[in-house]
């Protein structure tokens, strides 16, 4: 039993690891891991599923999903999972990834919601986590001015309840380092007593009740279309998985994320009003953080909303919950196997006035208190083409649209092309569309990607993105343009060995560093070269080596380089209660401009993105121990040792010495 459980955990972990690289840095992987674990317990019935459900399996592409439904409507229900091989676009690696999460049998779920069923067949999952940086940073010393008012400990409590596919509930409580615990200057919201942790989130959801597909009370996310009109949370962007730019919109979902900004809070529902037509409506009331100032009319104004969720210093606490946001709206969606069309509209209002910042590049930022957004999205499958797109209009402001196609050119080659145009005054607080910039506004671009799998052993991905920014940006005093290229080659001669080479080049423009009477733009080029090898020895040991070089060049100044080399060792014997992994890394970057990111293993498959900046060594060790059948314990120790410095970090996070180390402990109880 323990063996099966360990095997299943490993499977999900490997899957997440393989796609973690392609996710945005703040993507909440624990939510994805929960979902996949749920599907292991309650596999998706491929004969009775919906495209929305399949989209939650993030590794399926939209073309694969629509081809599956096409196949079933032409040939009847699937009789055997191996039949998947006959469906266009379903290559062997995809089928292997999919098998653990799907079935063809009618799932024997206890459907009725009764108190007895809820208690007997419900699943509870409780996680408690503690973390702390061991060295004392400046913010915790006795400073006269700004300092961290709380303790350096980090706490997380996450409780999830699921009953079949009918009921789900969750509670999240989180305290970041530097924040108060059991003492809160401001209430988290009207619903919760505030004196526990800085951040609290909860939801209760009922699913599949008559015509009501979902009803959620509490915290939730809405993700529709190509993320241009209504998408709260995070979306995949450009990555070696070239089909990742096509968004997997999953509609309304309860939120269990620890991210303190990217969710809606209130009530939402999705109702099936007619055969293929679903209507989703939502209402949300949030309190957000912002620095306020007074304008000439004595009104409180703000320029930007603070998304970090950190409330440590007196200033941050004062800015906490200083703005109220009310959002409401709806989506009307029509779905058939090949066609998916939706129209959306929502209205956002604030109780304080937005004023754009003073700089010229901020000239077209949102101003006022109210914003209405409308949009329409579509996706259409025609033979081996999957067309997709979205048009969005901010009333009394700008327009944005994105259109593209995902094409299966042959059984081994697929391509994506996508054109986007986001006007400089396109305002939307729920916009996560594919973009080069961190916000999808003031950008035009054309993206083309190719995915070639000539054989089981070889895999090639290439993409190129050309973009233009019609208006000024931060540190860019003129309209600018640039491009990004990526090429990746993977060789997997056997199940125990993988080698990968990746090249990425990005050119953008930025104000020159030279002291001149007026700024002109310099080309800023960043190139990454990566080589990686993974291999498995015996049944328990895995090794991974990576070497990465980054070259950074701005204008005519000579290039600077950054290097990273690491060695990972994993130990995960199937029949043991213990598993763990270790990394030792050496890095040397000339400056912050030539920094390197690499994902790092963490407790409970929480992958973090390590930032390697400066010169020194990095090491970490994770250990997992199965204390009892339903109880798992993790521990992690991580350390940065920098050379040629006397302090680490800056501002209130500055630490004396050359070392920054961190511990983390986590317990998970499933019952």
């Amino acid at each position: 039993m323990a063996k099966a459980q360990a095997l299943e955990d490993q499977l999900i972990k490997d899957l997440i690891e393989s796609i973690a690289e392609n996710l945005p840095e703040d993507y909440d992987l624990s939510e994805l891991q929960d979902r996949l674990t749920y599907y292991r317990k309650y596999p998706i019935n491929l004969n009775q599923t919906s495209s929305e459900e399949l989209k939650t399996l993030v590794f399926l592409s939209p073309l694969q999903i629509s081809n599956l439904f096409e196949h079933i409507s032409k040939n009847g229900k699937l009789i055997d999972l191996l039949e998947l091989q006959s469906i266009a676009e379903f290559d062997l690696p995809t089928i292997e990834r999919l098998m653990p999460f799907v079935t063809l049998d009618r799932t024997a779920l206890m459907d009725k919601i009764t108190a007895a069923n809820l208690a007997k067949y419900g699943n509870n999952d409780l996680i408690m986590r503690y973390g702390r940086v061991l060295e004392k940073s400046k913010g915790y010393t006795d400073l006269p001015g700004s300092r961290y008012l709380g303790t350096p400990d980090r706490y997380l409590l996450r409780y999830r309840y699921t009953y079949a596919n009918r009921v789900s509930a969750a509670l999240v409580m989180e305290k970041d380092a530097g924040e108060y615990l059991f003492k809160n200057a401001k209430p988290a919201s009207h619903f919760f007593p505030s004196n526990y942790t800085d951040f609290m989130s909860a939801h209760v959801a009922v699913l599949n009740t008559g015509r009501f597909k979902k009803i959620v009370l509490g915290d939730y996310t809405m993700q529709f279309g190509q993320a241009l009109t209504l998408w709260s949370g995070f979306a995949f962007g450009k990555s070696p998985d070239v089909t990742g730019v096509v968004k997997r919109d999953v509609g309304l979902r309860p939120s269990t994320s620890t991210n303190e900004f990217a969710f809606l809070r209130g009530i939402a529902t999705t109702v099936n009003v007619f055969k293929n037509i679903d209507v989703s409506v939502f209402a949300s009331h949030r309190k957000l953080d912002a620095a306020l100032s007074m304008n000439n009319d004595g009104e409180q104004t703000l320029s930007t909303i603070n998304e970090t969720g950190l409330h440590r210093t007196a200033n941050e606490i004062r800015n906490k919950n200083s703005v109220e946001q009310i959002v409401y709206g709806g989506v009307l969606a029509y779905k058939t196997n090949a066609l998916n069309v939706g129209v959306l509209g929502h209205h956002t209002s604030f109780n304080r006035l937005f004023v754009p910042g003073p700089s010229l590049y901020q000239n077209f930022n949102f101003a006022g208190k109210e914003l209405t957004n409308v949009g329409a999205y579509y996706s259409y499958t025609y033979r081996n083409f999957y067309f997709f797109g979205e048009f969005a209009q901010a009333l009394n402001a700008g327009l944005a649209y994105v259109n593209g196609a995902l094409v299966s050119l042959s059984s081994t080659v697929s391509a994506v092309v996508m054109h986007r145009n986001y006007q400089k005054n396109y305002h939307n607080f729920f916009n996560q569309a594919t973009a080069e910039a961190s916000e999808a506004i003031n950008e035009k671009g054309f993206y083309a990607g190719l995915n070639i799998n000539p054989s089981r052993h070889w895999s090639i991905q290439v993409y190129a993105d050309y973009f233009k920014f019609p208006w000024l940006r931060f540190r860019v005093d003129a309209p600018s343009e640039g491009y990004e290229l990526l090429g990746q080659l993977t060789f997997t001669p056997s199940k125990t060995f993988t080698a990968m080479l990746r090249f990425k080049s990005e050119v953008k423009q930025q104000n020159t560093n030279l002291v001149v009477s007026y700024n002109h733009l310099d080309n800023v080029k960043r190139e990454n070269y990566r080589a990686e090898v993974k291999w498995v020895i015996g049944k328990s040991f895995g090794f991974q080596n990576r070497l990465e070089v980054v070259q950074y060049k701005k204008g005519e100044i000579s290039s600077e380089f950054g290097y990273l080399a690491y060695q990972d060792v994993n130990y995960r014997p199937l029949s043991s209660k213990i598993s763990g992994n270790i990394r030792v890394a050496y890095f040397n970057t000339a400056s912050y401009d030539s920094r390197i990111y690499a994902y790092e293993d963490d407790v409970l498959y929480n992958f973090t993105f390590g930032l390697y900046n400066g010169k020194g060594l990095r090491g970490y060790a994770n250990l997992k121990y199965k204390l009892a059948k339903k109880l798992d314990v993790w521990s992690r120790y991580a350390i940065f040792h920098y050379q040629n410095v006397s302090t680490v970090g800056s501002g209130l996070d500055e630490i004396q010495g050359q070392v920054k180390s961190e511990i983390r402990l986590q317990i998970r109880y499933q019952f």
Binding site: L409, S410, V413, A448, L450
Partner: protein, 267 residues
């Protein structure tokens, strides 16, 4: 005055632009990633690439640089297959009336078995500038194509390995001297993916990748990218019996869009 400026500019700046000879609209839409591709216009690229023509075929091509009123390129090509030997001629003219470069060449290629082809081409170049006169020189191109497997092909060719130039100090013109190495991947009879790496003896490395997708019997869609500088290409081809019409547009970060169109007829 404008013409004078254009002439002047072309003689110094134009070298970057016509460094590579026009390879016809189909190969242009594939980003000139043509080192291992078979096409009649391989006459201007890898001469060994003309060895898949089954019948005599003639073609005309016209390219227009949109940033000027006049600057254009006209090309003509003809290939005659004779069992396993192939002969071809091509003529290329680039420029405006006051400044133009003409290149004419004859090629000979031969198939050795079903996998290997080798070709060689001799070119005459003449450059004409009003009030300056003209200059002439010669160059040679040579190349080979090899089918590694049924799906993968390799190709290599050299332009002007002897680095011939116009032997006159009055013109700072440059005849491309480069080695090209490429591959094609043909997973089905509807799709070709081609890549080529070019190392010009005077300049940096350039890489391009292009694809040709046979969507319907009569319609081809093409697209490509090249790295240094970053350019995008798109094009399509229409086939009607013996006549083929190809169109392509190249997008260069400074020069802008360059459309071209070509016609070929198989006898």
């Amino acid at each position: 005055m404008l013409k004078f400026l254009l002439t002047f500019t072309l003689s110094y700046f134009g070298t970057d632009v016509f460094g590579q000879y026009n390879q016809g609209a189909r190969l242009k839409a594939m980003g000139n990633a043509s080192a291992a591709v078979y096409d009649l216009w391989s006459l201007n690229a890898n001469p060994a690439g003309i060895t898949k023509e089954k019948r005599p075929v003639a073609a005309l091509n016209y390219a227009r640089y949109l940033f000027s009123d006049e600057l254009s390129e006209q090309s003509f090509a003809f290939v005659l297959p004779l069992q396993s030997n192939f002969a071809g001629i091509s003529i290329n003219r680039y420029g405006i009336s006051e400044f133009n470069e003409i290149r004419a060449g004859a090629a000979l290629a031969r198939k050795f078995g079903k996998d290997l082809s080798i070709g060689i081409k001799a070119n005459v170049h003449q450059i004409k500038i009003t009030n300056y006169g003209n200059a002439t020189t010669f160059s040679i191109d040579a190349g080979a194509n090899y089918a590694l497997t049924q799906q993968i092909g390799l190709g290599i060719y050299v332009n002007n390995p002897a680095s011939q130039t116009y032997h006159t100090g009055a013109i700072a013109s440059y005849i491309q001297s480069a080695i090209h190495f490429g591959t094609t991947y043909t997973p089905s009879n509807k799709l070709i993916i081609a890549t080529t790496v070019v190392k010009d003896f005077e300049r940096k490395l350039d890489v391009s990748i292009g694809l040709d997708y046979n969507l319907y019997d009569f319609l081809h869609l093409r697209g490509a990218l090249s790295a240094k500088p970053f350019k995008q290409y798109v094009g399509m081809g229409l086939i009607y019996r013996q006549l083929i019409i190809d169109g392509a547009v190249e997008s260069h970060p400074q020069i802008g869009y360059t459309p071209q169109i070509g016609f070929s007829y198989a006898f």
